[in-house]
Symmetry: C2
Amino acid sequence: MVATDIATRVWNHTFKLDPIVRSLLDTDFYKLLMLQMVWGLHPNTQVTFRLINRTKTVRIADEIDEAELRAQLDYARSVRFSKREMIWLAGNSFYGERQIFLPAFLEWLRDFQLPPYELAKRDGQYELMFHGPWTHTMMWEIPALAIINELRSRAAMKDYGRFELDVLYARAKAKMWEKVERLDKLPAIRMSDFGTRRRHSFLWQRWCVEALKEKLGDRFIGSSNVLLAMETDLEAIGTNAHELPMVYAAMARSDAELRDAPYEVLKAWQSWYGGNLLVVLPDTFGTASFLERAPGWVANWTGFRPDSAPPIEGGEAIMAWWRSKGVDPRDKLLVFSDGMDVDSIEETYRHFDGRVRMSFGWGTNLTNDFRGVAPEDTPGLHPISLVCKVMDADGRPAVKLSDNPAKATGTPESIERYRRIFGTKAEISRDVLV
Amino acid sequence: MVATDIATRVWNHTFKLDPIVRSLLDTDFYKLLMLQMVWGLHPNTQVTFRLINRTKTVRIADEIDEAELRAQLDYARSVRFSKREMIWLAGNSFYGERQIFLPAFLEWLRDFQLPPYELAKRDGQYELMFHGPWTHTMMWEIPALAIINELRSRAAMKDYGRFELDVLYARAKAKMWEKVERLDKLPAIRMSDFGTRRRHSFLWQRWCVEALKEKLGDRFIGSSNVLLAMETDLEAIGTNAHELPMVYAAMARSDAELRDAPYEVLKAWQSWYGGNLLVVLPDTFGTASFLERAPGWVANWTGFRPDSAPPIEGGEAIMAWWRSKGVDPRDKLLVFSDGMDVDSIEETYRHFDGRVRMSFGWGTNLTNDFRGVAPEDTPGLHPISLVCKVMDADGRPAVKLSDNPAKATGTPESIERYRRIFGTKAEISRDVLV
């Protein structure tokens, strides 16, 4: 029998840190797209991002050791884009377009480093904030969330025996594969992985991505995770996020400018990107209000990503709007990405099949579904609704209303003002599970 | 990152044979106990063992390559008892008894080698026979069966991708663990592994044994596999098998001697072993006939192992017999080992709980249950009813009647003669699944 590799073993028993984020590409693709636009148009805008744990019952600061959290955040700050990563970004085609990233932007990226963070404990929660230029603070969102979520998993499994871990992952694989087999029954499904921020761990996300690639083939269109897309030869998926309209709105100097902000940001986006990257995220200040005031040219965009309305209701509202603009929904795309799981994917797919193009961005329930998997009930393995949101831009408070008031962020007064200006009703909250 | 261990990798890509049986202890414990008695009492008896595939629909010779089979059988013939194995056999206590193996027997074992085999193909089946002294041919039964069963699994998985294998074993582990969790709910269960001969593979058997040990603790009393018992610090479990009464019966010189053979063999066993090793296997020529003629002293033995009657019916018959001899079944042991799985274990346990001591020998459905586990239906992963039985002893045909005529072996004439002498009715066959 070949002996244990001594070097590997010594490496294992001496390492001080098992870094969670080991690459600046271990982030969502839309961050890079947004970053390029922000770098081009708003290099001096100062934006604060802040961690928000919507699952108040979970006291993260009791679960995760502060020194470990700091060590992981510090490690992430030490990471730079590597040479091969830069070459891949420069040489790859994204959504069929070559050289989507400008040479000057890539040059600037070469020295990029995650900026400092502020960390404090309060009432069993971590206050984690990122102050500085938007071009830098925005890049913390995904790694910060991935680090905290993986530290939670690690803490939950700290006392597991080797055998318990073996059964845990065997069950997780079996459970995941059952989901994949169900999706495989949907002939025209288009799936992508949106699970980086909420993942159980990086390695588990990679396994899930490989599982989807193996079974669904071309119907698995890619991963939002740039590193995984590169490593597993998949498309990097994503377009834009709420932070764009939130910052644009925060910087508005009048009620009229505020009312126009959601469309101004689309114009700016359109000046940078085309084709499949033209996906509208309509819910930042309420989808109904967005559609009501939307100019006709918005109907020329490729599609919409309803991200907080129930998928069927939200999709139908957008399709009705398209029809009102004389556009056939069958030429348009809906991207469903809000807390999807196999049941809701199947239901949504069957509801819209043949009536509109659609794709699914599968997040938390793809990369962090350990329900019924842990040998004994382990609350630390239940995902929580943890987000990292824009708090202010150039000193002015940022707001998100969303179609689900439980997802709203901002000070009470500014939320009130936004509701008045956008005419968004305070709808009934739905539980935010993930 | 630590590099791949080059030596291991080269070892992997150059090895010509991955041996299935790597130790002569990789066999059932009762073989060693029987061997010692045969060595002491019948050193010159010539016994032929023969492979029998009761699952005729499976054409083993089409599934398994003959050269691979020969290479595995040849490898097994090259194996000897190692020094540490001899030390463990000599120094260990079995069923609480020290030095169960005589020094002279161990001395003889030191040079033991599996004898030659005869292998031919006929009609899609292998004719595999072992001729020679009983002391040698008997030791082929378990390794021969384990080799053929593992070669079947390997052939079935030959074209699996790495990912499919990963999911296969993840599912198998998840399925197995569900069974273990059900057994864990039976507070006084006593389980043992009897799955060597029918195992999917050696490594899978080891995983199953470790799973049971982990979850059931002391309620998992051990493994029939001597090598696994040694490696995982468990008790080696087992007493005696049908080959003893079969050979004793075959050697009988008259009808009267034949009628007495099942009790003569117990006397011989009793002269060698005591205590927990005194477990009667009553069904060789039919349990009803065995009990009807059994002398009173048989009721002094520790217990019975009903191995072909339905467990509840078979157990009740034996308990009624104990009571007829004035013996309280609560002082006695029933060992259930015929095709058990969780459902029948639970049912049997609940039926007899508190009325008799019992333990379960779990075989095929422990170590080779891949039903619903393979990603696509793979017949080669379904266990078959493969046995290796005594065909003749000193040139005289050997017979097994069993409580299930589907398990009978022997020539039609000799089966007829045995039925007449033992008064065993040709009962209705029950399907032999495993």
